[in-house]
């Protein structure tokens, strides 16, 4: 489908959000900042993959978004447990 101006603005805002999260992911002072940035990036990316599916007109991208969300959640919980285990 062809995009109009509002949809191009919405996708540009999503891209800018991914860019800002990537900056925090790269220059986060310590490991927890990077994990929080990865968590936020995963949520934004899950919605963005659904948007890509709408643009390309393929319903399979929604399955991709769902699996991506599941794997990102598992990864974030595992990383949080890894931080918690370092306290001794």
């Amino acid at each position: 489908m062809s995009l109009n101006l509002l949809e191009i603005m919405a996708f540009a805002l999503m891209g800018a959000a991914l860019l800002l999260g990537l900056i925090r992911l790269l220059l986060g002072p310590k490991a927890p900042d990077r994990i929080v940035a990865a968590d936020t990036l995963s949520v934004i990316t899950t919605a963005g993959i659904a948007g890509v599916g709408v643009v390309l007109g393929n319903v399979l991208y929604l399955d991709t978004a769902l699996i991506y969300g599941v794997l990102a959640f598992v990864a974030v919980v595992a990383l949080a447990r890894a931080i918690e285990g370092n306290r001794t």
Binding site: A10, A17, L20, P32, T40, T46, G69, A80, R81, R87
Partner: protein, 104 residues
């Protein structure tokens, strides 16, 4: 229908952008968790509603994705915050930190 979908998509993009901006600008890791989680959850849900208004026959999978985000994102953030608190990261105090990026 198309205009309502565009408005929802734009609100979703705006809140995602504001969440990422808060992630970049907040002084502490707890503040970053709060800004990133709440604004990004609202942004992602609004974006999915916009997608569902553009393609109304996809609503089952979109409800699955939205419910999953609504369920797992607070759980993940709460797990991160609990792990940080147990690992000994203290919250930022307004008089003690001299730079916006500095902790401890």
């Amino acid at each position: 229908m198309r205009l309502a979908a565009d408005v929802f998509l734009l609100v979703g993009g705006l809140f995602s952008f504001l969440g990422a901006l808060g992630l970049l600008r907040m002084p502490d890791v707890y503040n970053r968790i709060q800004a990133g989680t709440k604004a990004a959850t609202l942004g992602a849900l609004s974006f999915l509603i916009g997608v569902g208004l553009l393609q109304p026959e996809w609503w089952t999978k979109l409800v699955c994705i939205g419910g999953f985000i609504l369920f797992t994102n607070p759980v993940g953030s709460s797990t991160i915050a609990r792990a940080l608190y147990l690992a000994g990261v203290r919250p930022w105090q307004p008089g003690s930190a001299e730079t916006a990026a500095g902790q401890e």
